[in-house]
């Protein structure tokens, strides 16, 4: 059952938005139960890439293949970067999570006991069981983040896409969420694609990195991508990769000018 298979295969994709080329010749694969980090600075096109994978934006060239038919059969979970929820909306957290399972279905099927059990299981998996009875509009940012994950997981997806789930979290919370995702990946056997602008919090768990810069993409195992030659080719100018205290710093290494850290990749 749990054999390795390709879930999504992005082949030679270009994306243009409003006449502007946002992504050029993007190639990468996501295998089952693999943890992929989508790394790039703000505005690099991470959200665009995720939305393209979801089918919300169509590529101008190339194709996205789904060998296991996961998208067609709605086995893809998505956690957007920002969800604006109406504060007064009469929905408990568990109602909202259940909508991840049947919210897109017309008709009034009764939810079975097993649906509710799955809802509780997922809330438990993201360590948010205590939130079940709360009003969805009354959650804090970190709580909502977990609930959104449970919402995405409840339909038992093969692939979970998360758009910048670590932004706006303090370092401790960041580590919690990353470890939580790694555990979820192992237990639910789900592939995780997570976008972030800082690579460091993901280094321990990441099987593969998809690095976006300058509208181009380099992908592969972390140690094969986060190298001076690969990244320099991507950025179009010389870049150094410095390892300090087990952390990676990508610094702009223009030999003619002062060495300046790449603003978005420096660790705080």
């Amino acid at each position: 059952m749990n054999e390795i298979s390709t879930i999504v295969d992005v082949r030679g994709v270009d994306v243009e938005l409003g006449g502007r080329r946002v992504l050029t010749n993007v190639n990468f694969k996501v295998e089952s139960a693999e943890f992929t980090g989508l790394i790039g600075s703000n505005g690099a096109g991470k959200t665009t890439l995720l939305r393209m994978m979801l089918g919300l934006i169509s590529p101008t060239r190339g194709e996205v293949l789904w060998p296991t038919n996961a998208r067609e059969e709605r086995r893809v979970g998505y956690v957007p970067q920002k969800v604006t929820l109406d504060v007064d909306v009469p929905l408990r957290v568990r109602d909202f999570v259940a909508l991840g399972d049947d919210g897109h279905r017309y008709g009034l099927r009764r939810r079975t006991r097993s649906t509710w059990e799955r809802v509780e299981e997922m809330l438990d998996a993201v360590e948010a069981s205590a939130l079940g009875e709360r009003r969805i509009g009354a959650l804090s940012g970190g709580e909502l983040q977990r609930v959104l994950m449970a919402h995405a997981l409840v339909s038992r997806p093969e692939l979970l896409l998360l758009d910048e789930p670590l932004a706006n979290l303090d370092p401790g919370a960041t580590q919690d969420i990353v470890e939580l995702l790694a555990r979820v990946r192992d237990r639910q056997h789900v592939a995780v694609v997570l976008s972030a602008h800082d690579i460091n919090s993901l280094i321990g768990v990441m099987d593969r990195v998809v690095y976006i810069a300058n509208a181009h993409v380099a992908s592969g195992p972390t140690e094969e991508v986060v190298r001076p030659d690969v990244l320099s080719a991507l950025y179009g100018h010389h870049v150094d990769v410095v390892r300090v205290h087990g952390r990676v710093l990508v610094v702009s290494g223009d030999p003619m000018g002062p060495v300046a850290a790449h603003p978005d990749l420096v660790v705080e």
Binding site: L54, L56, R74, Y78, P80, V83, L85, D86, D88, V89, P90, L91, R92, D95, F96, L99, G100, D102, G103, H104, R105, Y106, G107, L108, E133, R134, R135, I136, L148, H151
Partner: protein
């Protein structure tokens, strides 16, 4: 108060209030009060047009409400409030022109705008029940998608829900419902039942199903009290419906805020 000619008023009124409460739950949830206000005015124009041409009012009510609803639904993407406003005034102006061309009597105009619940004929009960059932079925089918789309539009789109289709479906239901409520509580007031009671109900509960049932219950209560007061005082039902709905919402809001502060 419960004499035979009043029986129809009670029955039809209750059905209308149930429907308004159910539709209103979604109207408030989706933040589409303005559209909910505009669509019944389409029905008003339709009724006035039907009077002018001399066909059964129901046809005018339904067709104009549907046209208004589709017009608003189609342009919902950008600057929806402008489109809604223009659809609204165009429909009202058409209604006014039809009425002045047909030289309708003042009470007729008032009845269309503010309702004439005591004048509901027994023959219309079947129609009310039929249309009501269709609307209820439509809302039931769309129940979860409507909630999902209202709570988190991005997520629902990512899950493959077509927002335009959903909006159109909802607006059509709203139109059909308006065709039913306008002759009873009038174009301007069918709106009051659609916003006040549902907005109050959702402050009282966190569960969507309870909020829906509560909204219908509050709506029916508002209408019953209004009919009774109207009967007792001889003042128009619409006056009580409009003011009681507002008072209900304001009272519930004040109460929940007070209890939240104490907790």
């Amino acid at each position: 108060m419960f004499s035979s000619f009043m029986t129809n008023a009670w029955i039809v009124g209750t059905l209308v209030a149930l429907l308004a409460g159910a539709t209103g739950f979604f109207v408030v949830l989706r933040g589409s009060s303005f559209a909910a206000h505009a669509v019944p005015n389409g029905a008003f124009a339709g009724a006035a047009g039907a009077t002018l041409v001399g066909v059964a009012p129901l046809w005018g009510l339904v067709s104009f409400a549907v046209v208004a609803a589709l017009g608003i639904g189609a342009s919902r993407r950008h600057r929806s409030d402008v489109a809604t406003a223009m659809a609204l005034v165009l429909m009202l102006a058409l209604g006014a022109a039809f009425l002045s061309l047909s030289a309708a009597y003042e009470p007729q105009v008032q009845a269309l705008l503010f309702g004439e619940i005591l004048g509901v004929a027994s023959s219309s009960i079947t129609t009310v029940v039929l249309i009501g059932l269709v609307c209820a079925a439509a809302l039931a089918v769309m129940f979860r998608p409507l909630i999902f789309n209202a709570a988190a539009p991005d997520l629902s789109a990512a899950r493959g829900l077509n927002p335009t289709l959903l909006e159109m479906g909802f607006m059509l239901t709203l139109a059909l419902g308006s065709a039913l409520t306008v002759p009873v509580v009038g174009a301007l007031l069918s709106f009051s039942l659609t916003v006040g009671p549902p907005a109050a109900a959702r402050l009282l509960t966190r569960r969507p199903s309870t909020a829906l049932v509560g909204s219908m219950a509050l709506s029916v209560m508002t209408l019953w009290v209004s009919i009774a007061l109207s009967y007792a005082t001889n003042l128009p039902v619409g006056f009580f419906v409009g003011t009681l709905s507002a008072i209900l919402y304001i009272a519930v809001r004040a109460a929940t805020q007070l209890s939240a502060r104490r907790a």
